[in-house]
């Protein structure tokens, strides 16, 4: 009997081996290498001559904490997350309710329309959005102008650049979240709505007491992955504001890491930035799940 079990176990490991190997090679190894780099001063001198690498312990981390630019990047990223996550989830939920409740024949069309931005290339989208944001000829200022609002230099004004990036990110990403919400909505039993309707519950009451609680697990999941994704803000400012401008108003933590690593070639320091971001994201995610558990109790 035991021999058979061991045989089964071996077969199990054998079947899992390809996946485990891939994970080890492409996930564990880079993470370990990244951490190893973050405690060295690997930089352009080390690229030229590998003997010029030193173990520096926590020096990169100490420098990081005393670097105003890092704090600025972290503040910008938090601003983006705090503004972007609720906006994305709100729009996604509204869209999900819309495409679930609407006329049956049009549902797939709207789902496709809302999902299209998710699968388009960001660089191509950025070109279009740069036109939309153009201070003089852009559609957005044109519409605002009709309402008597003075032109806004969206991407050039430090106060407006981040909101402009948030708007683009929401538009680009809400379709994905919407699809998850749609799946969550379909999992809520129709009988509950029928029963509520028989009891004379209004549309708002049905939403508040059936839809929202029914969506709770979905909402937690969506919130966690959106927060994780938005903490990694990179491509939007990289292409829209030529790498974090104006005056570093859209410099995100990942963008800061990229610049330190691939512009100044302070690879060790950049790896330290990556690890700090990892701990921040982990802490925020744990906090979210803890809050969720308390709410369930």
């Amino acid at each position: 009997m035991r021999g058979l079990h061991r045989g089964e176990a071996r077969a199990g490991w054998l079947l899992a081996a390809p996946a485990l190997l891939v994970i080890a090679a492409f996930f564990l190894l880079p993470v370990v290498a990244g951490f190893a780099l973050s405690v060295t001063d690997f930089d352009i001198y080390a690229i030229g001559d590998p003997e010029l690498v030193r173990f520096v312990g926590g020096a990169n981390y100490r420098t990081l904490l005393s670097e105003p630019l890092f704090w600025k990047a972290l503040k910008n990223t938090l601003y983006f997350v705090l503004l972007g996550v609720p906006a994305t989830m709100g729009v996604a939920l509204a869209a999900a309710l819309g495409v679930t409740a609407g006329v049956t024949r049009l549902k797939p069309i709207f789902r496709t329309i809302y999902f299209a931005p998710v699968v388009t290339t960001l660089v191509a989208v950025a070109v279009v959005w740069r036109y939309l944001y153009h201070p003089r000829f852009g559609l957005i200022n044109g519409v605002l102008g009709l309402a008597g609002v003075d032109p806004i230099a969206w991407l050039a004004d430090p106060r407006w650049a981040m909101p402009a990036i948030v708007l683009l990110a929401v538009w680009k990403n809400f379709g994905y979240t919407m699809i998850i919400f749609v799946a969550g909505l379909q999992a809520i039993p129709e009988q509950l709505y029928e029963a509520a309707r028989l009891d004379g519950a209004s549309a708002w009451q049905r939403f508040r007491y059936i839809t929202l609680p029914g969506l709770a697990p979905t909402t937690t999941f969506v919130a966690v992955i959106t927060v994780i994704g938005y903490f990694q803000l990179f491509a939007e400012p990289y292409v829209m504001t030529s790498g974090g401008g104006p005056v570093n108003a859209t410099l995100s933590v990942v963008l800061y890491m990229f610049k330190e690593g691939f512009r100044w070639w302070d690879i060790g320091y950049a790896a330290a930035v990556a690890f700090v971001l990892f701990w921040i994201v982990l802490a925020v995610t744990l906090l979210q799940t803890a809050l969720r558990r308390r709410a369930e109790r």
Binding site: F26, F27, P30, V31, G34, D41, D43, I44, Y45, I47, G48, D49, L52, R54, T63, L69, P135, A153, L155, A156, D157, P158, Q232, F234, S242, G245, P246, V247, N248, V254, F258, G261, F262, R263, W264, W265, A274, F275, L277, F278, V281
Partner: protein, 425 residues
């Protein structure tokens, strides 16, 4: 985090693959040209190809914004071309990587490239620790572009030659009637202006061996005070390039009367200014703090370097020599508007009879290289980032310069260690 990291690795891999892939004939000399120069150099090389039927030259055009990253990635990935156009401030970095060929032995045997026929300050930029690593291809420096009508109205003619005269002129321009106007545009995200003023006061920026910062020196502090006075008196707007919006339109409307910028803007001004403003702009060499006009400006531009990994260095050197011929330099100016690095082409009427070009010729006689350390680009970026704190008034000048010294000393820590280690062994 892991996703971001993987994405970066993927980008790196793609860079390397992009550099290595594609048709690469064994015979051809591969040249990387950047931006606009990369476009015209192919045409420029046509006569060379006719002269050397057995020699193939393959030009690859690299966008300027991506050039620095691409070159470094290619070097690390062992996919460097035979020769390339590089910004002359990048050369110290390539020397650290041991990637570029010292050119002194080649120069000795050359009958085409003669050191005396180059602007001294520009030639200097190619020398790191006493060895020559590049040949200047075109030059770049900063002069004042100004509105001749506004300065005439303010009684500033001829263009001031001392800081004192310049400052008074700015005040008079500011006081001219006709709406909100600034005397000068000094974008707060550019390092060249405070650095150039510092050089004019005799500041060395770094200590002589490039191992420590020297921004708190009295020389640089004097220049920095002058730079900030211009903002404090609201003679210049505290705005970055992006915040200004369309510089050409603002200049045409007379929103500012002076602008310290480089040769590429001659073409831009001619292309982009409306007809009304085309006749009323001129250029002038920089004023000096004392009476030693013209004031020092920076020695920028691009050089041609040959990579150590190249198997066809002799052929690559032939290309460098060809592109350095005076008549080819002149043709290059005709095609691209880039100013020749050699002095002799400047006597051609095309350049000599152009009054807007004349200021550049005068200025190029007095230019200085930036400190030749691999960390310079990083230091330069930090200069304007720190200076902005002083412009916004969130720190005093002394605090800002002390902070700048601290940051730059940190950037240079590795350099100090590497040099101490080299001396020890």
């Amino acid at each position: 985090m892991s996703r971001g990291r993987l994405r970066l690795l993927a980008v790196l891999a793609a860079f390397a693959a992009g550099c290595g892939a594609g048709p690469r004939s064994q015979e051809a000399v591969r040249l990387w040209g950047l931006g606009r120069e990369g476009e015209v150099v192919d045409e420029l090389l046509e006569p060379f190809r006719a002269e050397h039927p057995g020699l193939e030259v393959e030009v690859q055009q690299i966008p300027f914004t991506a050039a620095h990253e691409k070159l470094l990635t290619a070097l690390i990935g062992d996919a460097a071309p035979d020769l390339a156009q590089v910004g002359n401030t990048w050369i110290p970095e390539f020397v650290v990587l041991d990637a570029v060929e010292p050119l002194d032995p080649w120069l000795e045997r050359s009958s085409v490239i003669r050191r005396e026929d180059y602007f001294g300050g520009v030639w200097e930029t190619n020398i790191v620790d006493g060895r020559l690593y590049g040949v200047p291809w075109y030059v770049d420096t900063r002069v004042v572009f100004y509105r001749t009508d506004l300065l005439a109205a303010a009684g500033c003619e001829p263009f001031p030659r001392t800081w004192q005269g310049w400052l008074e002129c700015m005040r008079r321009v500011k006081a001219l009637p006709g709406g909100e106007r600034f005397a000068i545009l000094l974008p707060t995200d550019e390092w060249a202006q405070p650095v150039v003023l510092g050089l004019q006061q005799g500041a060395t920026l770094l200590t002589e061996d490039g191992s420590r910062a020297a921004f708190s020196s009295p020389e640089f502090a004097r220049a920095f005070d002058f730079y900030l006075q211009i903002f404090d008196e609201r003679l210049a707007p505290a705005l970055s390039t992006a915040q200004i919006g369309n510089v050409y339109q603002q200049f045409a409307e007379g929103r500012f009367a002076m602008y310290i910028t480089g040769p590429w803007n001659m073409g831009e001004f001619r292309r982009r200014l409306p007809a009304s403003a085309l006749a009323v702009w001129g250029t002038a060499p920089l004023p000096a703090p004392g009476d030693d006009w013209p004031g020092v400006s920076l020695a920028g531009g691009a050089s041609l370097v040959i990579f150590k990994s190249s198997a066809r260095k002799a052929a690559a050197w032939q290309v460098v020599e060809y592109l350095s011929r005076p008549e080819v330099q002149l043709e290059f100016y005709r095609l691209s508007g880039d100013l020749p690095a050699r002095v002799s082409p400047w006597s051609d009427p095309l350049l000599a009879d152009d009054p807007q070009v004349a200021a550049f010729f005068t200025q190029l006689g007095r230019v200085q290289p930036m400190p030749r350390v691999a960390e310079w680009e990083q230091i330069a970026t930090r200069i304007f980032e720190r200076a902005e704190e002083a412009i916004q008034g969130s720190a005093t000048n002394q605090q800002v310069l002390a902070g700048l010294d601290r940051d730059v000393d940190r950037f240079l820590a590795k350099r100090r260690w590497v040099r101490a280690r080299a001396e020890g062994s």
